[in-house]
C-alpha cells in the first residue's frame, strides 16, 4: 500500500473541535455542559496513503469521521480538501465535494436499506450525481461495481437480507466507490465481521486502493487490523490525538504511555510469548468527556504522571528521535512493547 502513497496532501485537518451540548430540564432545556467528543485534532492525509486512527470507544474517532464527512458541523477548526476549506462550501460546490469523499460504515446490517435492491443501493449515488453515469448506463455501472468488489453482477436485483455480513460490507464498499471518490473514510469496516471474512474485506480494501489510487482514513479499535492496512497511524484518547507517526514508529517505538498500554493489552495469537511479555495494565475507566481531567487527559490512569501533567497540557509535537513522530506526553519515551 505504501508504494502508492505520496507526500502530496489531499486532506488537511486543522484543530477540529466538536462539542455536543448536554441539556437538562423538563420544560425549559438549558445547556449544563458539553461532551467534548473531539477536542482539537489535526493531521494531514496524503494522496494514496492510509491513515489509521485507533482508540477505544468514546475517544471521538467516529465523531471525527462524521465531521470530516460534513455530516456534523464542527464547533471549531478547519478541514481542507486539496487546499479548500470544506466547511465554507455550499450548494453546487458542496455537492461536488461530496463526490470526492465517501464513507464505509461499521454495521453492514443497518447501513443498507432493507427495502432497496442492491442495484438501487449502489446506484443511488448516481441519482444524486447524474453527471457521473447517464441514466441508460447505470445498470451496467452498478454491475461493474459489483464485479469490482467481488460479488456476482447477477445479484443486482437481490435484497440485503439475502447476503451474508461480509457480502453486505462489500455492497457498502461498492456504494462508496460508485462516484469514484478520492478519499474513503472507513469507520470500523471489518469489526462486525467474522475472522475468516475479515481478511477477505481487508484484502479487498487494499486492492481497491492500489487500483484506484484511493486515500483512506481507516478508523478502527483493532490495532492489528490498523497496522496491517495503514501507512501512518494516529492514536486518540478522550477527544485528543495523543500520538501520530508512521506505522512502524507507533508499533515498535511507541512513545506515549497510552499507546504503550494499548499495545501491551492486545492479545497476541502466539501462546509461546504469553509468559515473557511485558504488560501494562491500566487501572480504572476512561474519564467522562463532559469533564475531562486538567492538563494531560490521560494522567488519571497514567503510571508516569507527575505534577506537570495536571497543570500543563502536553502538546502533540515531535519529542525525540527524528522524523515526524509526534506524541503528546511530557514524559514521552520510545519503547518496543511487542513480544519477541
Amino acid at each position: 500500500m505504501t508504494q502508492n502513497s505520496t507526500t502530496e496532501p489531499i486532506l488537511e485537518v486543522d484543530g477540529v473541535v466538536k462539542h455536543f451540548p448536554v441539556k437538562a430540564g423538563a420544560v425549559v432545556k438549558r445547556t449544563v455542559g458539553h461532551v467534548k467528543a473531539v477536542d482539537g485534532v489535526s493531521f494531514t492525509l496524503n494522496k494514496g496513503e492510509t491513515l489509521g486512527i485507533v482508540g477505544e470507544s468514546g475517544c471521538g474517532k467516529s465523531t471525527l469521521a462524521q465531521v470530516l464527512m460534513r455530516l456534523e458541523p464542527p464547533t471549531a477548526g478547519a478541514v481542507r480538501f486539496r487546499g479548500e476549506d470544506i466547511f465554507g462550501k455550499r450548494g453546487a460546490e458542496l455537492k461536488a465535494l461530496r463526490r470526492q469523499m465517501q464513507i464505509v460504515l461499521q454495521d453492514p446490517y443497518t447501513s443498507l436499506n432493507p427495502r432497496m435492491t442492491v442495484g438501487d443501493i449502489i446506484g443511488e449515488p448516481f441519482e444524486i450525481h447524474p453527471e457521473v453515469a447517464p441514466k441508460g448506463d447505470r445498470q451496467r455501472k452498478v454491475q461493474e461495481l459489483l464485479d469490482v468488489v467481488g460479488l456476482n453482477p447477477d445479484f443486482v436485483n437481490r435484497y440485503p437480507h439475502q447476503f451474508s455480513g461480509g457480502q453486505r460490507q462489500r455492497i457498502g464498499i461498492a456504494r462508496a466507490l460508485a462516484l469514484r471518490p478520492e478519499i474513503i473514510i472507513c469507520d470500523e469496516p471489518v469489526s462486525a465481521l467474522d475472522v475468516s471474512i475479515q481478511a477477505q474485506v481487508m484484502n479487498l480494501l487494499g486492492n481497491l486502493q492500489r487500483e484506484f489510487g484511493l486515500s483512506y482514513v481507516f478508523i478502527a479499535h483493532d490495532l492489528s487490523v490498523v497496522r496491517h492496512l495503514s501507512d501512518r497511524v494516529g492514536v486518540m484518547y478522550l477527544g485528543k490525538m495523543v500520538e501520530l507517526g508512521t506505522e512502524d514508529e507507533i508499533y515498535t517505538r511507541a512513545a506515549h504511555p497510552y499507546t504503550q498500554a494499548l499495545l501491551s493489552a492486545v492479545p497476541v495469537p502466539d501462546p509461546s510469548v504469553r509468559e515473557g511479555r511485558s504488560r501494562i495494565r491500566l487501572v480504572g475507566d476512561v474519564p467522562s468527556p463532559v469533564d475531562p481531567p486538567s492538563g494531560c487527559r490521560f494522567r488519571t490512569r497514567c503510571w508516569k504522571a507527575t505534577e506537570i501533567c495536571s497543570t500543563d497540557e502536553p502538546e502533540l509535537k515531535v519529542r525525540s528521535g527524528g522524523g515526524a513522530h509526534q506524541s503528546a506526553c511530557h514524559h514521552a519515551h520510545a519503547e518496543n512493547l511487542l513480544p519477541g
Binding site: 470507544s57 475472522v195 498500554a261 493489552a265 492486545v266 495469537p269 501462546p271 495494565r281
Partner: protein, 344 residues
C-alpha cells in the same frame, strides 16, 4: 482406522490419565426447526473440562459454540431447538435426563455462566446488590443483611472500587467493564466449580478486556475451577487457554493443547484461520483469506462440511465426513489429512 476412531464418541482423548473431567459433553446433537427447514446446529459435539483447566471453545458465528453452552446450562429455547442425541455429564451425572428440579440445583451452584452483553443480562430495575444476593437468599436461606454483606465481599473480590457504596447502584450506573465484573461476581456467588464464559470480553475495549481476562484467570486459579471460555478471538485464546476445541458447522474439528495448536494446526480450518489474521508484530501485504462462506446450517455440505472452502480438499472429502480422531500427543482432528498434517 477403527482403533483410532474408538476414542471419538467420548470426545477428546484422555490425556495422561489425569483427573476425570468435571464436565463432559459427548456426541451432542441439536436441531432448530425453522421456516427454512431443519437446521443442524450441533452435529456431534465432544468436549470436556477438568478442575483447574481452561478450555477455549473457538469458532465463528453460527459454529454452535454458544448453543453448546446453552444446552449445558439447560437454557436452550425448546422449541425451536430440539436435542436429538448425545450426553452431558457433570461429575459423571447425566444432565439431559435429569429432572428440571435437579438441573436447577446444579445451575449456579455447580455450573455457572457469564454472558457477552452484561447490560442485557442484568436486570435494570434492581440494584446489583439485590441481584447478586438473590441467589444467596433463595438458595442458601441467607437473611437480607447477610446476602448484602456477601454481595459487597464478592464485588470487592472482582475489583470494584468502593464496593460498599456501589452495591446499591443499578446496572446502568456501571461502565461496560465494571458491569462484566458484576456479572462475574454474580456467577461466583454460589461457588460453582465450572464456569462457562460466553464471549465475556467481546463488547469491551482492549485495555478493559485485558483487566477482565486477568481477573478470570486469577479466579480460576484460586478456586481451581474448570473454565470454559467461548470466543472467536485467536489472541485471547493464546493468552489464557490450556486446551482448545475448534468448532466449525456444529462440531469440534480440532482439539489440542494450546501450544500444539498454534505451533502445528492439524485441521485445515484451524490452519487457515491462523493464516488469515493480521498480526500486531508484522505488516504483511496480503492476508491469506479463507474463500467462501461458512455453510448454511439447513444445508450442510455432504462429506466434510469444510470441504468447499478447504485448500486441501480431495474428491473423497465430498463423501466421507471424518470423525474427530485421536492423534499422537493427546490431540484430535476431524480431517482425512490429519495424520499427514501431524507428521509435517
Amino acid at each position: 482406522m477403527s482403533e483410532t476412531t474408538a476414542a471419538a464418541p467420548h470426545g477428546a482423548p484422555q490425556d495422561n490419565g489425569a483427573a476425570p473431567p468435571l464436565l463432559e459433553v459427548s456426541d451432542l446433537h441439536v436441531e432448530f426447526h425453522t421456516r427454512d427447514g431443519v437446521a443442524t446446529v450441533l452435529n456431534g459435539v465432544d468436549y470436556h473440562v477438568r478442575a483447574g483447566e481452561t478450555l477455549a471453545v473457538l469458532g465463528e458465528s453460527g459454529s454452535g459454540k454458544s448453543v453448546t453452552a446453552n444446552t449445558v446450562m439447560g437454557i436452550l429455547p425448546m422449541p425451536p431447538a430440539k436435542i436429538t442425541g448425545g450426553a452431558i455429564r457433570y461429575r459423571g451425572e447425566e444432565l439431559l435426563t435429569a429432572t428440571e428440579e435437579r438441573r436447577r440445583e446444579l445451575r449456579g451452584e455447580n455450573v455457572a455462566m457469564i454472558f457477552q452483553d452484561a447490560l442485557s443480562a442484568l436486570n435494570p430495575v434492581f440494584t446489583v446488590g439485590f441481584q447478586i444476593g438473590e441467589q444467596l437468599r433463595t438458595r442458601r436461606g441467607m437473611s437480607k443483611r447477610d446476602a448484602r454483606n456477601r454481595a459487597v465481599e464478592l464485588l470487592d473480590m472482582v475489583g470494584i472500587p468502593g464496593a460498599k457504596q456501589r452495591v446499591t447502584n443499578f446496572p446502568h450506573e456501571f461502565s461496560g467493564g465494571m458491569r462484566q465484573r458484576v456479572m462475574i461476581a454474580m456467577s461466583l456467588a454460589l461457588d460453582p466449580d465450572v464456569l462457562i464464559a460466553d464471549e465475556p470480553t467481546t463488547a469491551l475495549d482492549v485495555t478493559v478486556q485485558a483487566q477482565i481476562m486477568d481477573l478470570l484467570a486469577d479466579i480460576q486459579r484460586e478456586r481451581e475451577m474448570g473454565l470454559i471460555l467461548i470466543t472467536h478471538d485467536l489472541g485471547v485464546v493464546a493468552e489464557v487457554a490450556d486446551r482448545i476445541a475448534v468448532m466449525y458447522a456444529g462440531r469440534i474439528v480440532e482439539q489440542a493443547d494450546v501450544h500444539q495448536l498454534y505451533a502445528k494446526p492439524c485441521h485445515p480450518y484451524t490452519e487457515a484461520l491462523l493464516a488469515s489474521i493480521p498480526r500486531l508484530d508484522s505488516k504483511g501485504t496480503e492476508l491469506q483469506a479463507i474463500t467462501g462462506l461458512p455453510p448454511t446450517l439447513t444445508r450442510i455440505p455432504s462429506g466434510c462440511p469444510f470441504h468447499p472452502r478447504c485448500p486441501r480438499a480431495a474428491d473423497r472429502c465430498t463423501e466421507i465426513d471424518p470423525p474427530l480422531t485421536a492423534l499422537p500427543g493427546g490431540r484430535a482432528s476431524a480431517c482425512l489429512f490429519a495424520e499427514e498434517m501431524a507428521a509435517r
